[in-house]
């Protein structure tokens, strides 16, 4: 391998001897130790060559100075991408979790943020955002480091005349090389080999390249185009599906719970004479516990009118009023307020947010409410009114009456006179 004589190695080849012929691209000089490489590199540097390089199986300590390589600008790329990652992470979290979509109506709805409250944290919670910001910073900075390094090194680049040389295969194993490019302004087909021969090299070899047309084979071009077209099909199909309508039901790859073996309300079925899938109760029957024969107690009505008195089953005691207070504070106070003045926390918040369509809850201390018969209040709790939902399903009848008793207590407490206070407690009033 080391037998090539330095004198005749760089034979007088002329660059550009025509299509198809070998063209001299440069000269390769082989060394067998990193120390020799550094000495040689210093001499090549001092000789004024600019388009040249050294190759080694590992980064040789001190070669940067010997070749005059200036520090790379890669850290700046990394810094810039890190900053971009940091800002992206912050903006992503702000936009998706904290930005109020109503202020950005021009953004397509798919891309709008979605404000939701989680575990009482503010919408924009910087401490909770730091992990994602950090990860985005590192991710983009690392990508910047790798992509930046490859781009600055002009990699990947597989077509290299050097790689065709058998001798050069040891550049990744145990040999060290200096390569001087023929395109260097100081390159001289006669002088340069002579100069390189003085470097104490183990061997010198010309690097030649057979120049072809530089065009890709026709078959490869067609195959490439075909693959690109094929790859475009799925996104095109998806795009078409997004904008077109179909009578067919959705195609389910995985059924999830979309189609279940059951009948929904109002569905038809041929099995029954009336054509309905769901069955009404048999005429003249009632389910157990569904008999509500006492309209006073169950509907708050006497002879069709709202009852003015509590039904006889309801005993007004301190215990029942306390029960009413407890139920009231659970079900009613969020809107009507603990004192019944219509200033519950929901109402206050709705007021602050200026929610459209919000109807303020009635003050239960309003004379209108005070004068309403208890049956009317019972009906309102059971069936709801305006935007207030019905609570009949959630609050048992006895509790509804207890709430009404408590509401009456509240009303009285707000319009109380001195005489209403028991005599022995009047001294505690101030």
């Amino acid at each position: 391998m080391n037998g090539a004589s330095p004198a005749n190695a760089g034979g007088p080849q002329r660059p550009g001897t025509g299509r198809g012929g070998p063209v001299l691209r440069g000269l390769l000089v082989e060394f067998d130790s990193p120390g020799a490489l550094i000495t040689a590199a210093e001499r090549v540097r001092d000789a004024g060559y600019t388009r040249w390089d050294t190759h080694s199986p590992f980064p040789v300590h001190g070669i940067d100075a010997a070749m005059g390589i200036r520090p790379t600008r890669l850290p700046w790329i990394v810094l810039a991408l890190g900053v971009i990652g940091c800002i992206t992470g912050l903006a992503l979290q702000w936009w998706t979790n904290a930005a109020d979509a109503r202020h950005f109506p021009w953004v397509p709805v798919h891309l709008q943020g979605y404000t939701f409250h989680v575990s009482g944290k503010p919408l924009f919670s910087l401490p909770a955002n730091i992990p994602v910001i950090f990860e985005m910073t590192v991710l983009l900075a690392a990508l910047g480091a790798v992509v930046g390094m490859l781009a600055m090194n002009n990699l990947p680049l597989h077509h290299r005349p050097l790689l065709a040389l058998t001798r050069f295969k040891r550049a990744t194993c145990d040999r060290f090389f200096v390569y001087v490019d023929a395109a260097d302004p100081r390159f001289d087909p006669a002088g340069t080999p002579e100069f390189l021969a003085t470097l104490g090299a183990a061997a010198i070899e010309p690097v030649e390249e057979v120049v072809d047309s530089g065009r890709l084979p026709r078959g490869l071009t067609i195959a490439g185009l075909f693959i690109v077209c094929l790859a475009l099909l799925p996104p095109l199909l998806a795009a078409k599906a997004r904008v077109s309508k179909s009578e067919q039901p959705r195609f389910n790859i995985i059924a999830d719970m979309d189609n279940q073996e059951r009948f929904k309300a109002q569905q038809a079925h041929a099995l029954f004479a009336d054509g309905r899938a769901s069955r009404p109760p048999v005429a003249g029957t009632l389910a157990r516990g569904d008999l509500r024969g006492d309209p006073h107690f169950y509907e708050g009505r006497v002879a069709g009118e709202f009852a003015a008195t509590f039904p006889p089953q309801v005993q007004i005691t301190e215990g029942s009023i306390r029960r009413g207070q407890q139920r009231f504070n659970i079900y009613c106070a969020p809107c009507h307020g603990l004192g019944g003045a219509g200033d519950g926390i929901v109402a206050q918040r709705a007021l602050n947010l200026d929610t459209p369509g919000w109807v303020a809850p009635t003050s239960l201390l309003d004379p209108l409410v005070v004068e309403r018969p208890v049956g009317h209040l019972f009906n309102t709790i059971t069936n709801g009114i305006r935007t207030m939902p019905p609570y009949g399903d959630q609050i048992a009848e006895m509790d509804r009456w207890a709430i009404i008793a408590y509401v009456r207590t509240l009303e009285r407490s707000q319009n109380a006179r001195l005489e209403d206070v028991p005599a022995e407690l009047r001294s505690e009033l101030r």
Binding site: S33, P34, A41, D53, T54, H55, S56, P57, F58, P59, H61, D64, M67, P71, T72, L74, P75, L92, Q93, T96, N97, H110, L111, Q112, G113, Y114, V118, S119, K121, S125, A128, P131, V132, F134, E135, V138, L139, A141, A142, L143, A145, V146, M149, L150, M152, N153, L155, P156, H158, H159, R160, L162, K169, A171, T172, C173, D174, I253, I254, D256
Partner: protein, 497 residues
């Protein structure tokens, strides 16, 4: 293949003279030959085939279990009402933790100029990536409807809904995703020069093409090396805080909650130390058979094993410190729920798991204080196997004991794994070892370019501190230290002129 390799003890050095990191008197060429041998051999050793067959079988088990899970739902696991996380998240944390040692070796030890890392960093990084792959399986299948796992990513959808960025589970998606990406980059970038070596040594055409494509046209140009080294340093500097963040974020999954036994401020560093601890145990578990099998005893020397044992001891002690502080604080806080949970861990229904964990994680690594345990491969394997088991149980203890007995005694329930749980765990090892064995056979297992920089002959400068042959290390042994033979240190107390 390995029969010719002579074992040399290079674990000792005289202060001021560094023992050789690569033994056997290798030069650049012979080192490349040794490092490429597992890949260039016409066929791998018989043990490789046996291990690969077993791993493939386990991998098939994993596939079957995932298929069974998808068809039937997560009810096939042993989860019950208070214990909503058990084997799935335990396995996830276990595997993510394993990965941390690889990054520690490749990034943190790089920043600390620990040259011995070069022998083991490549396959430790590979281990990181395969462990993260195994870890990624579990949150994926744990979500139940795994075809909707992409909902974890912040993608716009037709409901105009986004993930909740205040949830640590989403931080996990970012942390583990970033970790997997950066680890892959780090691994691949470091491998480019070695892939070029493979390209240049490949005999068959298809190998030349495949490795040529992977090597990106690397020529070992010094101008390239310059930017390559800078990029590698930057990646190391980025991977160092990243690796700390990953297991910290994993610990946040538990610690931001209010559950006793989960909510404690030492969790982030404690999880990181535990991860590195478990990871080093796995590196040793893999390194010892690999160096035997592929003839790498001169590259992964007793000194490397010794150093790794010491790091295992250090991180194991940090984990013990965290256990101690948790217990102390459970009492010190005066919080009845905290102290209950810790009493329940030590004495309750999962006491068996707890004492397994203590025995394996705190007691076993203390054996590494003794040099005999750091230099005999069978004893090392024994201890690190304990650690592998103990670190799995640590996550199991944390997750299951806290969940199964929380604030409401009426809802307590004992978690029992089903056969699906157990086989899925076993199957994840199949995935891990299948990938690892393929890596050993088809990719450069030793970072040749980096190991070459450690050889004394590759430093172009005259070295001020000579590298002594390893055999001279026997001249010097602190255990046989004879005070009479040297000058008395007490003489030195006299004032200097």
């Amino acid at each position: 293949m390995s029969s010719a390799v002579r074992e040399i003890d290079n674990t000792l050095d005289v202060p001021g003279q560094r023992a050789a990191l690569i033994t056997g008197g290798h030069d650049l060429g012979s080192l490349t030959d040794v490092a490429c041998a597992p890949w260039e051999a016409p066929r791998p050793p018989r043990a490789w085939y046996i291990a690969f067959g077993l791993s493939l079988a386990l991998l098939a088990v994993l596939g079957a279990m995932i298929g069974y899970l998808v068809l039937n739902g997560v009810g096939v696991w042993g989860l019950n009402n208070p214990t909503g996380w058990a084997f799935d998240i335990t396995n996830f944390v276990f595997w993510v933790g394993i990965g941390h040692a690889g990054t520690l070796i490749s990034a943190i030890l790089f920043l600390f100029r620990q040259k011995w890392r070069t022998s083991i960093n490549r396959f430790a990084e590979a281990m990181t990536i395969f462990a993260v792959v195994c870890a990624g399986v579990f949150p994926g299948i744990h979500v139940g409807r795994i075809w909707l796992a992409y909902w974890l990513a912040p993608l716009p959808n037709q409901m105009a809904m986004w993930p909740n960025f205040r949830s640590p589970l989403l931080w996990d998606v970012f942390a583990v995703g970033t970790y997997a990406t950066v680890s892959m980059l780090f691994w691949y970038v470091g491998m480019i020069p070695d892939l070029a070596t493979f390209r240049d040594r490949a005999r068959s055409k298809w190998k030349q093409v495949v490795y040529g494509l992977l090597a990106l046209g690397w020529t070992g140009s010094s101008r390239h090396w310059h930017r390559f080294e800078r990029a590698y340093l930057i990646l190391a500097a980025l991977a160092t805080p990243l690796v700390l963040s990953v297991h910290s974020v994993v610990s946040f999954d538990f610690a931001v909650s209010q559950l006793p036994g989960w909510h404690t401020t030492i969790f982030p560093p404690y999880f990181v130390a535990g991860a590195i601890f478990g990871g080093f145990a796995m590196v040793l578990t893999l390194a010892i058979p690999a160096r035997e099998l592929f003839g790498l005893k001169n590259i992964i020397t007793p000194r490397h094993l010794d150093n790794m044992c010491k790091i295992t001891l250090l991180t194991g002690s940090i984990v013990g410190y965290a256990y101690l502080l948790e217990f102390f604080t459970a009492w010190y806080s005066g919080n009845p729920y905290e102290s209950f949970v810790f009493k329940a861990r030590a004495l309750g229904p999962y006491a068996w798991a707890y004492w397994t964990m203590i025995g394996c994680n705190v007691v076993a690594p203390q054996l590494f204080w003794f040099k005999a345990f750091r230099t005999r491969v069978w004893l090392i394997l024994l201890v690190v196997m304990c650690v592998n088991i103990g670190m799995w149980f640590e996550r199991f203890v944390i997750i299951v004991t806290s969940l199964s007995q929380d604030f409401l005694p009426s809802s307590w329930d004992y978690f029992r794994p089903t056969w699906v749980d157990l086989l899925t765990l076993a199957g994840s090892f199949g995935l891990f070892f299948t990938l690892f064995l393929l890596f050993c056979r088809y990719l450069p297992m030793v970072a040749m370019a980096e190991v070459k920089t450690v050889l004394p002959l590759t430093d172009p400068r005259a070295h001020p501190h000579p590298h002594v042959p390893a055999t001279r290390a026997f001249d010097y042994n602190p255990d046989e230290f004879d005070p009479a033979a040297t000058s008395n240190p007490r003489d030195a107390r006299e004032e200097r002129p």
